[in-house]
Each structure stands twice: as C-alpha cells, then as structure tokens.
Subunit: 146 residues, 2 copies
C-alpha cells in the first residue's frame, strides 16, 4: 500500500478550514463546484468533474481537527482508498496534513492525482484565506490529463 502525502498551511482559523472540508458549500468552493450529498458522518458526498467523479463516505469528522473519507465510488484505483485531512494550529497558520492512503500500486494515475491534489489543496488554502478558491471546472490544468 502506498500513499500520497501533502502539507499546506492556510492563514485562517482551523474552524474556517474545517468548514471548507465538511460542508457542501465549502467543498464546492475549492474542489469542484458540482458537489452535493450529505456531509454528515455516515453520509455520502458526490463530487463531479467533467470526465467523472467520486463518491465519498464520511467516516470521521472531528471539529477543527480531522476529516476522514472512504471512496465508495469513482475510478477503480480510488475505490476503497481513504482521504484524510488532519488540521492543527501553528502560529498564524492552520496546517493541513493530507493523506490519500491505500493505493495498491504506484501507477501513472497516482502520479497525476498526487500533483492534482497539491493544486487543489492550494485552492483550499486560497479559499480559506481569501474566500475564493479555484475549484473545477475553473481549476488549474496540469497536463493532458487535466
């Protein structure tokens, strides 16, 4: 099993970053505008992009500390993996430790998703700091795979 790891820091409160991770409006503000579903624990959130999307079951949500999803539908390589956001305060920053864990193999798609997650996490940082992120379909294109 292999993981994608990232760390970004937002000049915003943990509560603000947590809100961006646990509400449909917040998630639509940095990942994809086409987001709906139930963002409570046990609920499933639907994220849609131009070519397809992901359904995430919310396994854990601990205010201003932790969000943990399980991928219940989406690309084959994603199903069963987990996406974890750990939040902590460090000076003026809220640090987000991100892990997309449990990939079976280091396939080329994993390389792509790692870079793309970094770009979306910079969008989360921007949303928390300025009120406006760069979610799909206004996201930054990184390659031919978008």
């Amino acid at each position: 099993m292999v993981d994608i790891l990232h760390r970004v820091g937002a000049l915003a409160s943990p509560e603000k970053v947590y809100e961006a991770l646990t509400t449909v409006d917040g998630l639509a503000g940095w990942w994809t505008e086409d987001t709906d579903g139930d963002s409570d624990v046990g609920g499933v959130i639907r994220f849609r992009f131009l070519p397809g999307g992901f359904d995430m079951k919310v396994l854990e949500a601990k205010a201003a500390e932790l969000v943990l999803w399980e991928v219940v539908d989406g690309p084959e390589e994603w199903i069963g993996t987990r996406v974890r956001f750990e939040l902590k305060r460090q000076g003026d920053f809220t640090i987000v430790l991100f892990r997309h864990e449990g990939w079976k193999e280091q396939v080329e798609f994993m390389y792509h998703c790692s870079t793309k997650w970094a770009v979306y996490l910079m969008s989360l940082k921007k949303l928390a700091e300025t009120g406006k992120g760069d979610p799909s379909p206004r996201d930054v294109q990184i390659s031919d795979w978008h």
Copy 2:
C-alpha cells in the same frame, strides 16, 4: 521506503524540458536562482535556498528522456534519496514523471516536500511554456515552512 510521486505535462518539446533539468541556467529558472556546479553526469549541482540547500550528484542524464540525481548533501531526511525525472511525449505535451524516492519514513517534512515539489514542477512547466518560472526566492509560499 516510500516515494513522492508527481506528473505534470508541459506544452513544450522534451528537448526544452530536458534543458531545464540539465543546465545550471535552466535549473535556476524554475527551482532556485542560487544554483551552480557541474550539471554533467558525475558532477555535483549545488542548489541553495534561504534556509539551506541540496547538493545533487548527477547519476544519469539521457537526452530528452531521463534525469536521475542522488542527494549527497542537504537535510538529513534527503541524504541518499534519489530524484528522478522521466520525460515522454504525449500529443502536444511533454509529460514529466517525477519521483523523489527512498524516504525512510512518512515524516511531516515529507508531506511538506511533496506539496512543494508539486509547486516547483508547476514552475518548471511554466518555464518550459513561457520562458519564465517561479524559482526561489520568488517561489509560491505554501505554509509556515515556506
């Protein structure tokens, strides 16, 4: 052993991307302006940032295809790891498959470096496409760790 993985695509020729990875001027254009040393195979390239830097031994350089470095000096977690850039043409894009391989543990610094590499690879893409990247000290700040 764990790896950082990334994939970006530049709308530029493999030769142009290769030049950005194998010349001191090219490297100074996207990673850090404070770059010097010998970029031939067997040479050591010195990369300096505000807080410190990295010395990379060039292990392999295959025109427009592959660049492989070994970290011979720098932060303890980096020493002995390898940084690999594989290039391939895909339509109008030159795809860069990036791997910083051989980390001993998933320490918090690895999370940081993963995101920071993604941001620098977007700088490499920008340099190859427009002639101007965002190297240190003009790089994008991602957190309190810079």
